[in-house]
């Protein structure tokens, strides 16, 4: 790296490039292909950390550190915060609104990729200079010299841009309360007028064994009451189906009682017991 004109990098850097480059591409693919936005964010964070390594390998020591601090530290955390605000039903729907859009987009992306890579392939790069001379008195002082002499106007403008962005974001997310909040009495009256659920919502869970919050309570006829599960879990489709399992364990209980009393057993006993605790998971995102 410190030679003035080299034709190839060190073997260590080549190994680093091929190993980390593969992971970076996988991370990028994961960002695009993962269905849940949180998984996409994690893949993107991995890619960004690897890019920071590449910056360090390329002699951009300041940028490498800034990449980790600003991107994986600040920007990705901001993304995760917004995902927590917004992402209750953050899984993408797989339904295509435009017909054939996915294939068309894939074709366009492929074309762009071929265009870019063929374009780079056209360039003949025999040797490269390396940053040995430019980084001689340290990367940060050299960058600072450039930033505060040649690019000082751009630097000032970027500072103004950041201020404007901060004010703009505050303005956008600020919400003026126009109408006054409803009192408890008004809410109760509204519920009566709308004919909605009047008494408190039923509690989740049935029997001592299944009192988890993602199990709906059972109505007297044995059907699960979806309203007893938190609306967040309902929107994510994380309700665990309970009715068939419940029926099975009830049958098992009856059979054991019958055996205890020495009565003839019913034939559905063993199959019901074999059901066990394996709850059938419902569809990941109920659409």
């Amino acid at each position: 790296m410190n030679t003035l004109a080299a034709t190839s990098t060190s073997t260590g850097e080549a190994v680093q490039f091929w190993v980390l480059g593969t992971v970076a591409v996988l991370g990028g693919l994961g960002t695009v292909l993962m269905r849940r936005a949180v998984h996409s964010a994690l893949c993107l964070a991995a890619t960004m950390i690897i890019l920071a390594m590449f910056y360090l390998a390329n002699g951009a020591y300041f940028l490498g550190v800034v990449q980790i601090v600003v991107y994986t530290g600040a920007v990705m955390m901001l993304f995760l915060f917004v995902l927590m605000l917004v992402g209750v039903s953050a899984a993408d729907s797989l339904k295509e609104t435009l017909k054939g859009q996915r294939w068309l987009a894939l074709g366009c992306a492929l074309g762009l990729g071929i265009l870019l890579i063929a374009g780079i392939g056209q360039a003949s790069v025999g040797s490269f200079t390396g940053l040995g001379a430019a980084n001689a008195e340290g990367n940060v002082p050299a960058l600072a010299t450039l930033l505060f002499t040649k690019y000082v106007v751009a630097f000032e403008v970027v500072g103004a841009l950041l201020t404007v962005a901060a004010v703009g974001a505050t303005l956008l997310t600020h919400r003026e309360r126009i109408e006054k909040t409803k009192s408890q009495r008004e809410q109760a009256e509204e519920r009566v007028r709308g004919g909605k659920q009047l008494p408190p919502l039923p509690a989740p869970g049935v029997y001592a064994r299944h009192n988890a919050v993602d199990r709906p309570g059972l109505l007297p006829d044995g059907t699960p009451a979806a309203i007893s599960v938190s609306s967040t879990l309902r929107e994510r489709g994380q309700i665990r189906e309970v009715s068939t399992e419940q029926m099975a364990s009830l049958a098992a209980l009856e059979q054991r009682t019958a055996e205890y009393h020495g009565q003839p057993t019913t034939p559905q006993g063993p199959t019901a017991e074999a059901e066990g605790d394996s709850a059938p998971e419902p569809e990941e995102a109920a659409k």
Partner: protein
Amino acid sequence: MSPINYVYLAALLFTIGASGVLVRRNAIVVFMSIELMLNAANLTLVAFSRMHGNLDGQVMAFFVMVVAAAEVVVGLAIIVMLYRSRHSASVDDASLMKL
């Protein structure tokens, strides 16, 4: 290995990001794909800076990072506002010019 390989990698990442912008409909994931494209552009700038032996490329990458940070702040604020008015972060739902 020549440093031009970094540029190839950046082109690949840029393409992946572009396809993400076209394919995904969750506004936040679209935004993340844009971040991926910006990062790929930064990698190109840094690699070229090394190949040419001067630091202008790194200064430009630095400016790209600052502008990207500003863009993320405003963009996420817009997404939060959209979510408040439409209760969804899907870009398909924001099909009208008014809120």
